[in-house]
């Protein structure tokens, strides 16, 4: 035990636990998907857990995040309710959207998950709007927009960056570059230039972090969030990471030929969860007993949550036309 270490051993274990939990939840979704009871698209973020967890660990509960179609990890890392997430994916009334959104619309107002939107970059201005609300109310909240490399090709992202910079808004644009938009690689979609260089064009600082290193992500996000909270305006963070499974669905898809098996294996060897476990072990911050106990407790939580979601009642079909208007 080394109480002087920053983050503390407990904080390190919490980061590991949060990543492992997301991994195990998404692997369980993948394992059960063939049952055909989760009848909505799922976009798994297996392999990208360090980005979600590192970024959200820098936030307070009242801070707001927005996400995309690949939102499970962000939602869980920010504290979104697991049972409400799984119930939503199963189309149940107890889902966070009451069965109206599915896997791509996860939100949890109590946890500061403002919205997830499955149109690329569509949720980016929502985060800027949340930051504007914080500024207008003279609150010290911060908004984080999670976006992918593809979002940097969308006009609305640049409109949002421009606006946030112009009005010095407390927002962090957190780009997870996983190098693919569906099956189309980054180099077919963008010129060869650093993604982080886009920040300068919008008059804001950029930070780069290894997206598979939860501590590097946490450090960068803490810096950006501190600036935002202090009124210094937005920051663009770029974190490189990698999507292990197919764009949409539970499987691996390297057989399609859009990426090489070697590339995939090289990233898999840099598994953010396993690498962090090894690091904590080296540091003496976590024993095998600790990690086994953690996995056991998470497994029990996941089993219970799936049990809840599967047993939960469907919404009454007669309510489908309700709540179009407030």
């Amino acid at each position: 035990m080394n109480p002087a270490r920053e983050p503390s051993d407990q904080e390190l274990r919490d980061l590991y636990r949060a990543m492992l939990r997301i991994r195990l939840i998404e692997e369980e979704i993948a394992a059960r998907y063939a049952e055909q009871e989760m009848r909505c698209p799922v976009h798994l973020s297996v392999g990208q857990e360090a980005a979600a967890v590192g970024a959200c660990a820098a936030l307070r509960p009242a801070d707001q995040i927005t996400s995309s179609h690949r939102c499970h990890g962000h939602y869980l890392a920010k504290g979104g309710d697991l049972r409400a997430m799984l119930a939503e994916i199963y189309g149940k009334a107890a889902g966070c959207c009451g069965g109206r959104g599915g896997s791509m619309h996860l939100f949890d107002p109590d946890a500061g998950v403002l919205a997830s939107v499955p149109i690329v970059a569509s949720s980016v201005p929502l985060a800027v709007g949340a930051a504007l609300a914080f500024q207008q109310r003279a609150e010290d909240g911060v908004a984080v927009a999670f976006l992918g490399d593809g979002s940097l090709e969308e006009g609305v992202t640049h409109e949002s960056l421009n606006f946030a910079s112009r009005f010095h808004l407390p927002v962090v644009f957190f780009v997870e570059n996983n190098f693919f938009s569906v099956y189309t690689p980054l180099d077919q979609r963008q010129p060869a230039r650093p993604l982080a260089a886009l920040a300068a064009a919008h008059g804001m600082p950029a930070l780069e972090a290894d997206g598979n290193d939860v501590l590097a992500v946490l450090k960068a996000t803490k810096e950006a969030v501190a600036d935002a909270r202090a009124g210094a305006g937005p920051t663009l963070i770029v974190a490189e990471t990698y999507r292990w499974r197919e764009h949409c669905g539970p499987n691996y898809d390297n057989d399609l030929g859009y990426r090489t098996e070697d590339e995939f294996l090289a990233w898999k060897a840099r598994d953010p969860v396993a690498a962090f476990a090894a690091r904590l072990s080296e540091l003496g911050a976590m024993t095998d007993t600790d990690s086994d106990a953690m996995a056991g407790a998470i497994g029990a939580e996941i089993d219970a949550a799936f049990g809840f979601a599967k047993a939960a009642p469907f919404p009454d079909g007669a309510t489908a036309a309700e709540r179009v208007y407030a």
Partner: protein, 360 residues
């Protein structure tokens, strides 16, 4: 006797925003030109001096971006009023309106609210042309979750804008540029006018006519000319196109057996098509004649006043359609048409009819 308090619709819109800004600190305006010297045709004039640039926000030229930002702020409990000087500018923001604004309440199972107002100004006249002269009300009426409000005069412009700002839903407030010039009595108090559907503005038993936005004014003019020929029009100002409430129209059609719908858009797939379809579905057995529509022909808005003359239906065309519906003899229809056309020729066709200036 007290003099009536007369404002133009543009002045009424300015007053509504002024009172809303004063009453609720969560209200703010966002628009390209909202804080500029001309103030969106005068409808935001002076507000930045009174409330400051943080509440009357001049916008970067980023329509989709600031619409999404407005939605995000609205989800957090703010009440933004987004303003576009032309309907076409808002086409860049349809993704945020149709996707995030329209669905926030539904997809969150009622937990999110998006109290957003989008003011759109539809251009007409002085050669506005293909991309400054579209109203596109049917496009904004298309998606459940949005409300669409079409004021036809100053009292409703003020009252319905106050109601729209107070509403917890995203409301498209579509202002026809020629309605801006209409003047009439407007109460000084900030009284919201309910967004509850059509209003009967003339009572008659011969024919039911539903008109929307600026065409309500042309239709009122036509109805006045027809009254002299003994034709009594039951005239509704549509006011709210979504949610669409047609109960009173159906009740009227059951009495008159005749229906005409007059809107500001293309006749094909227009509001008229939907209203005629809906009313016919329930009133077919009561109809004495096939329902009719007056709308724009199927081509873009031409700029030249020589070309635009044939493009825009006017009071005489509405009168012709009503006359045909009620079986007025051709000679009398022609006389009404000639009278209205002669009146209209007193001013160029590319500026508003002078009769729309006075209080009704």
């Amino acid at each position: 006797m007290r003099e009536p308090r007369v404002l133009t619709a543009a002045e009424a819109i300015l007053e509504a925003q002024d009172q809303a800004l004063a009453a609720d600190p969560a209200v703010f305006l966002m628009g390209e030109g909202a804080a500029d010297p001309k103030g969106i045709f005068g409808t935001t004039a002076g507000l930045v001096d009174k409330y400051g640039p943080a509440r009357v926000m001049e916008m970067p030229v980023s329509e989709n971006g600031f619409t999404g930002i407005a939605v995000g702020a609205a989800l957090m409990g703010r009440r933004p009023v987004v303003i576009h000087q032309r309907v076409e500018f808002c086409l860049l923001a349809m993704e945020q309106l149709f996707g995030n604004a329209a669905k926030a309440h539904y997809v969150s199972d009622g937990r999110h609210r998006a109290p957003l107002v989008v003011r759109l100004v539809a251009g007409r006249g002085w050669g506005q042309g293909p991309q400054h002269g579209q109203v596109l009300e049917n496009l904004f009426a298309l998606v459940p979750g949005l409300k669409l409000v079409l004021p036809a005069g100053p009292a409703d412009a003020k009252g319905m804008l106050l109601a729209a700002i107070a509403d917890d839903n995203p409301v498209i407030f579509l202002e026809h540029r020629w309605v801006h010039y209409v003047s009439g009595e407007v109460p000084e108090a900030p009284l919201p006018a309910p967004l509850d559907g059509p209003r009967r503005i003339l009572a008659g038993g011969d024919v039911t006519v539903v008109a929307a936005s600026y065409m309500t004014l042309e239709t009122r003019h036509a109805a006045a000319a027809l009254a002299a020929e003994g034709v009594a029009v039951d005239l509704f100002d549509l006011r709210v196109a979504r949610p669409l409430v047609t109960d009173a129209i159906q009740e009227s059609v059951r009495r008159t057996g005749r229906l005409l719908v007059v809107d500001t858009g293309w006749k094909t797939f227009g509001l008229g098509a939907e209203i005629v379809a809906r009313v016919t579905e329930s009133c077919f057995a009561d109809m004495a004649a096939p329902p009719r529509r007056v709308g724009l022909p199927d081509h873009p808005t031409p700029s030249s006043r020589a070309l635009a003359e044939a493009y825009y239906p006017r009071a005489e065309h509405v009168a012709g359609a009503i006359g045909a519906l009620v079986g007025l003899p051709d000679a009398r229809v022609a006389a009404v048409h000639a009278t209205l056309a002669a009146e209209r020729r007193q001013v160029p066709l590319d500026i508003p009819h002078p009769s729309f200036k006075g209080p009704f």
